[in-house]
Structures are given as C-alpha cells and as structure tokens.
C-alpha cells in the first residue's frame, strides 16, 4: 500500500515537473516573441475588439509582466503560484479566443510566433489542452493542499 502511494506520488511529481517545464517553454516563448516584436504586439493588441485603445499600452506591459512572472515562478520553489497564475491566464486566453471566434467581427490575435500563425480553432484546442494539463497538475500536487 505504501509502495503504491510512493509510486503515485513519484508519477505525480514527474507529471508536475513536466507541466512546469511545459509552462516555462510556452510562456517564455510567448514572452520573448512579444518582447522582440513589441511594436507588432502593440498593434495587434490595439486591434482587439475588447481592449480599449486607451488601455492598450497598459495591457501590453501587464501581459508581458505577468508572463515573465509566471516563467520565473515555475523555476523557483514558488512554482505552485506559477501553476495557479498560468492556469488563470490560460483560462483567460482560451475564453478570449472563443470570444473572438464567436462574437468578434474580425479575428486579431496578439500571440506571436507560431501561435499567431495557426488557425484559431487549433489555437483554441491547444489552449484548452494546456489549461487542462495545468488544471490536472494543480489537482495532483498534494503539497498544494498544505500550501493553500
């Protein structure tokens, strides 16, 4: 019984580590692409139907900051906070893509690089998959029970 528990815990930790590095990969890539093409990112953000033009700059900085924070958190002991932040962020990105697909007359996406070029439905599925992976990582992380 104890052996089974140790195995479950071991696989949970492997899974959580996998999700941590996946988050790190995705968010650092998104952060770098946005930072390197900041002007383009700003223009794309300004095209967003739900972000007021007066707040475009603020949103761009806020997004960059939060993506950077998530990247840093996932590689530190505070990775649990990184999981929670990234989960909330991914939920937002997913429903934002859904919103664009169903309610917006046009489809501007401020995601840079590869993500910016894939079709919106695939983008939505990708976001949903990542959100579920993070959600499961939060569920499996037993230490998060004590942490919270």
């Amino acid at each position: 019984m104890i052996k089974v528990n140790i195995n479950v815990r071991k696989y949970s930790l492997i899974y959580i580590s996998f999700v941590r590095y996946l988050i790190l990969l995705i968010f650092s890539y998104a952060f770098m692409v946005k930072l390197l093409n900041y002007k383009e990112f700003l223009v794309q953000l300004s095209e967003s139907p739900i972000i007021p033009s007066s707040l475009t700059f603020f949103f761009s900085i806020f997004l960059l900051f939060i993506e950077f924070v998530v990247c840093v958190l996932t590689v530190t002991k505070l990775y649990r906070l990184g999981l929670l932040f990234s989960y909330s962020l991914m939920v937002f990105f997913t429903i934002y893509i859904y919103y664009l697909l169903h309610f917006s007359p046009y489809l501007p996406c401020a995601c840079g690089g590869i993500l910016g070029n894939i079709p919106y439905t695939i983008h939505l599925i990708f976001n949903l998959a990542i959100t579920i992976l993070i959600f499961l990582a939060i569920l499996f992380d037993e230490s998060l029970n004590f942490y919270l």
């Binding site: 383009e40 095209e47 972000i51 007021p52 909330s88 937002f92 429903i95 939060i138 919270l148």
Partner: protein, 336 residues
C-alpha cells in the same frame, strides 16, 4: 479542509477570467460605436479655396524632382504650374493606364487588364518589366518597391497582393488577400494613401484599412484595422438588392481618393447619414474624414465644395501644405 480551500482557489481562478472578459466586453462596446461618427460631430469649416484653374484632361498629378507630371489615362506628360501640358513623356497607349509612378529614376506603368508591368523608355515606349500570373488591378509605389494589387477573377472580387522590389527584381506574393464582398455584393471603393514607407489600402464599406509598412526592404509588415461599425452605415448609402449590396447610384465615383497629411489619413467619403442626405448643405460638399494614422479611429471631417460646374472629384493631392483637388475639368487648390 485544505482540499476544499484548494477547490475554492481553483474555482476563483477559473471564474476571474470570465468576469474580466465580461467587464472588458461591456466597457468596449461603447467605444466601438464611437469609432466612426456618422453624425460628423467634429465637423470643421469648409476649407478655404485659394486657386481655381481649368484643366485639359488631367486626371492625376505627381511631383517628382521639381517637375509636375500628369496623365490622362492614355499618356503621361509634364505640366507647368498652371497644369497645362508641356511635353509627352510616354507614347499614347490605347489601353488605359491604371497606375504609374517614379522610382529609381524609372517611370513604371501598369495598364488595365494586363498581367505585365512596364517601364517607359527615354523615347516613350512601354518596355515589359515583370510579368505576373494575374491581372494587375492597382499599383502603388513604396520606396524601391511596388505593391501590386492583383485580381484573381475578372469581377475583381478577390484580390491578392504582391511586393515587387525593383533593385532585386524579386516578386513576392504577400500572405494576404481580400474579398471585396459584402453580403453578396461587391464593394468597389478601394482607396489608397501613400507615404514614403507606407501604403494604406482602404476599403470603405468594409471599414477596413490594410497598412503595408516597408521599413525594411526585405520585410513588409501588413496590418489590418477594422474601423467602421458597418451596421451603423445608413441605408441611404448602400441599397439592398437580390444580388446583395450596391452603392447608391447617386453616389458612385467617390471614396476613390484620399491623402495623408499631418499624421492623419483623409478619406473622401460618401457616407452621409439620413439627415445629411436631406440637406442641400451637406449634399453640396465632399467630406474628407480624418482618421488617426496609428489606430485609424475617426477624428474629424473637413469639407470641400461640390459644384455642378466642377464635375466629379477624381483625385486629391497634398503639396506644400495645399490640397489639390482635381475634378473632371478643373483643379481647385485649398489651404489646409
């Protein structure tokens, strides 16, 4: 206890993005409606007319190295300051010239319904420069490059964009296309404003700007902006038929011209609201709607005269802080 607290945090983190999106949705709905103000609340006075000259078959004007050039759709020639013809630059072309401009000391010409671009030799002949797979519909000059709008079909519904670099002779098909279709009808009012590194292609009733930014010769950045809430355009502008939308017959040859000045993009507009359509005050003016050049939001409107003796407005040009408005047989110069 801690598990339920964990679920509480998860539920909170899931709900929070929804709340944020709902707040953003409702706050921006108000600003979207303000993007294009069809009531033209920000009207400015009629521009002051400074000169008024008769023309002989001049359709557009270009300034290049201190000389003024013009065309009559079949020939390109130099004109004097009174816009009288001085000297032919190109030979007579039976096929109408739809686009022309100077770049690298070459006069590049595009002829209607042809798949070839030409340059004009010293003796005025049209020498083939580059051949495309599709018919060139419009041609715009951007530094050493040309932006070509090509039509995939004879009805000009589907357009694709090319970039041709004159230095490298490279022809690049841009990864964008546009459909000039609104609910089954064709929107025929594409318009373009030029800057040295920017070409702004404008489709009025689709409310869409395409901005081609050529800051780097090897890379072109294309952005699109949706500015007009098309549902707000009054019925007087577009009438509905079985085949879809059509421009009102009374307001045809407009929205074809625009210009870039003082960080504003000006579009000559034929979008009048119902009250304006009833009033002779509005009907005797062309409105030049100004949009900011970053987000293309409507800012204000200038207006210029529309007289029976002037004929249709064909072309607008800014030079030395003066607006040159070219009508069928006359040119009127305004202070701006």
């Amino acid at each position: 206890m801690s598990f339920s607290r964990k679920w509480f945090i998860i539920i909170l983190l899931t709900i929070f993005p929804f709340i944020l999106l709902i707040i953003l949705h409702y706050t921006t709905q108000q600003s979207i409606i303000r993007v294009y103000d069809l009531n033209r609340k920000y009207k400015r006075p009629l521009l002051k007319k400074v000169e008024y000259r008769n023309l002989d078959s001049v359709y557009d004007i270009k300034f290049f190295r201190g000389k003024i050039y013009s065309s009559n759709f079949h020939q390109i020639f130099t004109v004097n300051s009174s816009f009288r013809k001085i000297k032919n630059i190109s030979n007579y072309s039976p096929i109408p010239i739809i686009g022309w401009g100077f770049t690298n000391n070459k006069l590049i010409v595009s002829l209607a319904n042809t798949k070839t671009l030409f340059f004009v030799s010293n003796n005025g002949d049209y020498i083939p420069l580059v051949k495309l797979k599709t018919v060139v519909q419009k041609i715009y000059f951007c530094n050493d490059s040309l932006i070509l709008i090509s039509s995939l079909d004879s009805s000009y519904v589907h357009s694709i964009f090319y970039l041709y670099n004159l230095n490298t002779s490279r022809l690049i098909k841009l990864n964008i296309s546009c459909s000039k279709m609104v609910g089954g009808g064709i929107v025929c009012d594409g318009s373009v404003i030029l800057d040295k590194t920017k070409v702004i292609y404008y489709l009025y009733h689709l409310g869409k700007f395409y901005v081609f930014d050529l800051t780097n010769q090897n890379k072109i950045h294309v952005s699109t902006y949706q500015t007009i809430d098309r549902d707000n355009i009054p019925n007087g502008i577009i009438r509905f038929s079985k085949s879809g939308f059509r421009m009102d017959k009374k307001q045809t040859l407009l929205n074809l011209c625009g210009f870039y000045f003082d960080n504003y993009v000006f579009i000559c507009s034929n979008a009048y609201n119902r009250n304006e359509l009833k009033s002779s005050y509005y009907f005797n003016r062309y409105f030049l709607d100004a949009y900011d050049d970053s987000l293309f939001y409507y800012k204000f409107s200038y207006s210029i005269e529309k007289g029976d003796d002037l004929g249709n407005l064909i072309f607008l040009y800014i030079y030395n802080n003066k607006l040159y408005s070219i009508y069928l047989h006359k040119i009127v110069i305004y202070d701006i």
